[in-house]
């Protein structure tokens, strides 16, 4: 693959996927002017999205792409390895990045000081680089480096929030994120001493012949808990609500749409294509632990969401609950479960991004996201709030929306396992979702508008389009499941058949 005679751009897509936003970020920092930097960041992020789309198409057509970075053949050099799972995650992250970037200009102008805007976009692109890097690399340590690239830039993105609590949230996230990343790197270190390799595929091949002994278990432990911190698995979720709530709107949307999803990707990579589900799920009680934590998240975090009076916090706690759905799918470790998890990664990214973008538009107009300030704002910004309502319905899992598709497959997976109790947990969690979403919609559409809401109106077109587009996509992917379910199903088959 590497050192192909004659430089062909197509061969280097995997490298470009990361290099383009990385170089883009550096140039962005040099531009210094907010609007210029935005234009540049938009070009870069759209380009990145285009590359990921090409990669996705290529992987679907021709199978896994392996790319030896710098011409060093794996497993000695760092390998960029794009299989269907990677391509799927790359697609989600890069498109989320591009769509949010369209939206970003007005919102950033409103929320970030003029002098810092270019830096903001720079950090945004760096974060994008890191997230894409985690998804594309086939090297465990390289994934750690990218994790830190994305995290450090994300801390900065959060700290730029206007409220001083953004600083504290960022600090807390930094502490927790670093602990998580360090746990991860400890796990990688143990794996490295055990197998002498850092390449996921290589490690997997070497692990096959080994007994599951204590070091291997310690490695799984550290990797799982480390990544769980990053993906905000209950009870390690507590950094998330404040980070979401006090970050600038664009950051929140980006964080919600991508960061936890990539962490989940990494967990799947470790569980299924490195150790193999036989080791993780049959020797260890991973299923029990994950199911318990997922269920706690689905119920507990949803209940918390019901009582929050800040819309962003409601949605943040809902995210914790939704991550529970995904980890539940993973915990089932069967075909349907993984399919539902992957589908929900996609669908949740879609609807949460739509919701947070809409909330960002509200913040732009009235400067508050407190629930009682949103009373009766629906008729004042009808298009935004209609989109919000659509995405909200999807969050509940209303049939005809993307959220239903995920829940349908999750329920099917649970039934497939014969765990009836969990069906009721899913139902109960959905019911609680009805309350917290219903509470928002009730205030937004049925209350008499307050003083702040009176002067609200729909945001400028550049913000409106991404919101409306995403919420329509929520409907689209509730009906047309070819991209989501079929691909997810293929990935699940691949993951479950991955390690022999």
């Amino acid at each position: 693959m590497s050192a192909a005679p004659g430089f062909e751009l197509g061969h280097h897509l995997p490298a470009l996927q990361v290099v383009v936003p990385l170089i883009g970020a550096v140039i962005c920092a040099m531009l210094r002017n907010g609007t210029l930097a935005w234009g540049w960041a938009l070009i870069v992020s759209v380009l990145t999205a285009a590359i990921s789309t090409m990669l996705f198409v290529a992987v679907q057509a021709g199978g896994t792409i392996s790319y030896g970075l710098g011409g060093w053949a794996p497993p000695y050099g760092i390998e960029y390895r794009v299989d269907l799972l990677s391509a799927f995650i790359l697609l989600i992250v890069s498109w989320a990045g591009a769509i949010i970037m369209v939206y970003a200009r007005q919102s950033v102008m409103h929320e970030i000081d003029a002098g810092k805007r270019a830096w903001y976009y720079c950090m945004y692109l760096l974060c994008l680089t890191g997230l894409l890097g985690i998804a594309i690399t086939g090297d465990a340590f390289n994934a750690f480096v990218f994790m830190e690239v994305s995290s450090l830039s994300m801390y900065t993105l959060i700290a730029m929030g206007k409220n001083r609590r953004a600083l504290l949230s960022s600090y807390q996230y930094l502490i927790m994120g670093t602990i998580g990343a360090t746990f991860y790197v400890i796990g990688v270190g143990i794996l490295f001493t055990l197998t002498g390799s850092l390449n996921f595929v290589d490690i997997a091949e070497r692990l096959v012949t080994m007994q599951m002994e204590r070091p291997a278990i310690a490695a799984i432990t550290f990797l799982t808990v480390g990544i769980s911190l990053k993906l905000a698995l209950f009870p390690l979720h507590s950094w998330l609500p404040n980070a979401y709530a006090y970050a600038p709107s664009v950051t929140t949307s980006f964080l919600a749409g991508t960061a936890t999803k990539v962490a989940i990707y990494l967990l799947m990579r470790i569980f299924f294509s490195t150790f193999g589900e036989a080791k993780v799920f049959e020797i260890l009680p991973t299923t029990t632990i994950l199911v318990l934590l997922s269920v706690s998240a689905m119920i507990g975090a949803s209940l918390v969401a019901v009582f929050q009076d800040d819309v962003k916090r409601v949605l943040a706690y809902s995210s914790v609950a939704q991550v529970g759905y995904i980890t539940l799918g993973i915990a089932l470790a069967n075909d349907l479960g993984l399919t539902s998890a992957l589908v929900h990664i996609f669908n949740h990214a879609l609807m949460k991004t739509a919701l947070f973008l809409a909330v960002g538009a509200v913040f732009l107009r009235i400067g508050s996201v407190r629930l009682h300030d949103l009373d009766g704002i629906g008729p004042k910004m009808p298009v935004t709030m209609a989109a919000f309502a659509l995405a909200g319905f999807a969050l509940i899992g209303t049939p005809g929306t993307a959220g239903f598709v995920s829940k349908y497959y999750l329920a099917a997976a649970v039934i497939d396992k014969g765990w009836w109790g969990l069906v009721f947990v899913i139902a109960a969690s959905s019911l609680i979702a009805v309350f917290y979403v219903g509470r928002l919609l009730e205030a937004i559409w049925f209350r008499a508008p307050g003083a702040l809401a009176q002067k609200a109106s729909d945001p400028p077109l550049s913000m409106l389009l991404p919101i409306v587009g995403l919420s329509l996509a929520v409907i689209w992917f509730g009906v047309d499941t070819r991209l989501t379910v079929d691909v997810a199903h293929n990935i699940a088959t691949m993951l479950l058949g991955g390690v022999k």
Partner: protein
């Protein structure tokens, strides 16, 4: 898929979504035009049309038109049209949109050929209809709407579970005859039963319908329960269990209706009672009985809408539908009075009205099948209908003692809607063949034999005479403003202390949101809020140390468990 084979329900839903973006005039055109377009589309669709779409790994049957689906589709669209006229006076984006989606979902469900689509429409009717209750925008309505939603979503969840089980057992997703026996079939049966307001599962009807808006109640009365009747006719025709259930449903509401003060709630009880007739017909399952159930549903939608419309008009003008506060309105609202009486005569089943020609089929079905006690109880219930809907509604609203309301006649659009409905009641009564011709099976006999006309008239007339005797003797119970307990007492009162289930949490949470703190001082709510509220351990911001502590706990626990397993 030819151009014509589109499910008119989807058309309605699409129009409903569009409506929420349009200004008033556009919405009015849509609400009036779409049902008409849907009707034309449905009539133009050839009988036996079948459209399937491969999706989700199996074939969804988007459209299946047969003799059973056709009359339901027609009447739902007519009901949507009537409701649109009736609602013309109001400017409410939310309701215009919700009603269309609601009606569209009902039509869609009737024309859906597989259980998966049915489920989707089933839930859509629940979610869209709740807005008609919420749109009252009172705290009472919020609570009622939430209780309503819990029931409806419960039915949906049950249906989903049933469908999945049924699929596992039979490998079929077809929405067709299901034999009771397996767990899946029972779950489906119960899910239908909730929506059809089975005895003990009925109370959401009386709880929620009277709290809906003036126009919303009309729509609610038309779609949800009749959709369930259709589902039963489709899947459980001839299931004998439905006969006793239906009989109980016809009988018990009449007693509650006698003492109920809220006239819209009286109508809700009467709705229950009418559903019982239909279920008995479906349970008997013979051709004539199924015809009876279907035609009864058809006629019922019209006259029940008419009655709810007339009460809606009264509510609109006077601001109340409490029997104790009304009376004497015939002077101020003469046309509404006449329409209401026509509706009342129809529901009671007087000859020359639609109720007579349809209820007769069910009764004949029972006669032919030789179910004596069933027949007798149906006759008894007919007298009951006469009591609460035939006499009580018009008498206490429009006659009785003068309630002192000096109001204008109902708005023109309401009068037109009521006029059309009243005309339809009489038209079907005089020309029953028009309705009979679209029923699933052929009807050979005319309902107008001397015997049936005379006996039914005797029955009803002597009911009225009994009313006269009682009221002249002062024995008729007075209308008293009151709350009458029903099964909802179980979950609204007793359960508050004994069964800490989600339904209450919902109510409390919602009541809390609406500022009704008095109602929220419940133990469970307090408990949950204490732990999950903004100041609770789960909901408050954690210090960094605490977060790190949990990370450490997780690592320790996970390692210990891992090593434990290896030992």
């Amino acid at each position: 898929m030819t151009a014509i084979d589109v499910n008119p329900g989807l058309l309605m839903i699409a129009a409903g979504l569009l409506a929420c973006l349009l200004p008033r005039v556009g919405r009015q055109l849509l609400t009036l035009g779409t049902p008409v377009a849907g009707l034309l589309l449905l009539i133009a669709t050839p009988m036996g049309a079948l459209t399937t779409l491969p999706i989700f790994g199996y074939d969804l049957t988007l459209l299946r038109l047969d003799g059973l689906a056709f009359p339901f589709g027609i009447i739902f669209l007519i009901a949507a049209f009537l409701n649109a006229i009736f609602a013309l006076h109001q400017d409410d984006r939310l309701q215009d949109s919700a009603v269309m989606i609601y009606g569209g979902a009902a039509v869609g469900a009737v024309l859906a050929g597989d259980l998966a689509s049915l489920f989707i429409y089933w839930e859509l009717t629940a979610v869209s209809s709740v807005f008609l209750i919420l749109a009252s925008r009172t705290e009472r309505a919020y609570s009622a709407a939430m209780r309503y939603l819990v029931w409806q979503i419960g039915s949906g969840v049950l249906l989903l579970a049933g469908i999945l089980l049924h699929y596992q057992e039979t490998g079929s997703m077809a929405f067709t005859t299901i034999t009771l026996g397996s767990v899946g079939s029972w779950a489906i049966f119960l899910a239908f039963g909730i929506k059809c307001a089975f005895p003990l599962l009925h109370n959401w009807v009386q709880d929620a319908y009277p709290e809906a808006t003036i126009t919303g109640t009309v729509a609610l009365s038309a779609f949800t329960t009749k959709l369930a009747v259709y589902a039963f006719a489709r899947s459980f025709a001839g299931e004998e269990l439905l006969i006793p259930i239906g009989v109980v449903m016809t009988c018990f509401p009449v007693f509650f209706a006698v003492i109920e003060n809220d006239l819209r709630r009286v109508l809700a009880f009467s709705l229950n009672n009418q559903l019982g007739f239909m279920l008995v017909g479906i349970g008997i399952g013979s051709e004539i009985a199924i015809n009876g159930a279907v035609s009864h549903a058809f006629a019922h939608i019209i006259y029940k809408s008419l009655l709810f419309m007339s009460m809606g008009a009264v509510l609109y003008r006077t601001g109340t539908v409490k029997a104790s506060e009304l009376g004497g309105l015939y002077k101020s609202m003469p046309l509404t009075t006449i329409f209401c009486i026509i509706g009342a005569l129809s529901i009671a089943g007087f000859p020359l009205t639609s109720g007579f020609v349809t209820k007769n089929l069910t009764l004949t079905g029972a006669e032919y099948a030789g179910y004596f006690w069933i027949w007798l109880l149906l006759i008894f219930a007919s007298a009951g209908v006469m009591e609460h809907s035939g006499i009580k509604i018009p008498f206490f609203a429009f006659f009785s003692h003068d309630g002192g309301h000096r109001v204008k006649e109902a708005p023109v659009n309401m009068l037109i809607a009521m006029g059309i409905a009243a005309g339809a009641c009489i038209f079907i009564g005089i020309f029953p063949q028009t309705l009979y011709s679209i029923l699933p099976y052929e009807v050979t006999k005319s309902p107008y034999s001397v015997q049936s006309v005379v006996t039914k008239t005797q029955l009803l007339t002597f009911s009225i005479i009994a009313f006269g005797v009682l009221i002249r003797a002062g024995l008729y119970p007075k209308e008293i403003p009151s709350t009458n307990l029903n099964t909802d007492w179980l979950y609204r009162h007793v359960g508050r202390y004994f069964v800490g289930v989600l339904a209450y949490m919902a109510r409390w949470a919602w009541a809390g949101v609406c500022g009704g703190w008095r109602a929220t001082l419940g133990a469970a709510h307090g408990l949950i809020r204490r732990h999950y509220g903004p100041d609770g351990a789960m909901g408050s911001a954690w210090p960094t140390g605490q977060m790190a502590f949990w990370a450490t706990v997780m690592i320790a626990a996970y390692s210990l468990i891992g090593f434990w397993y290896l030992l």
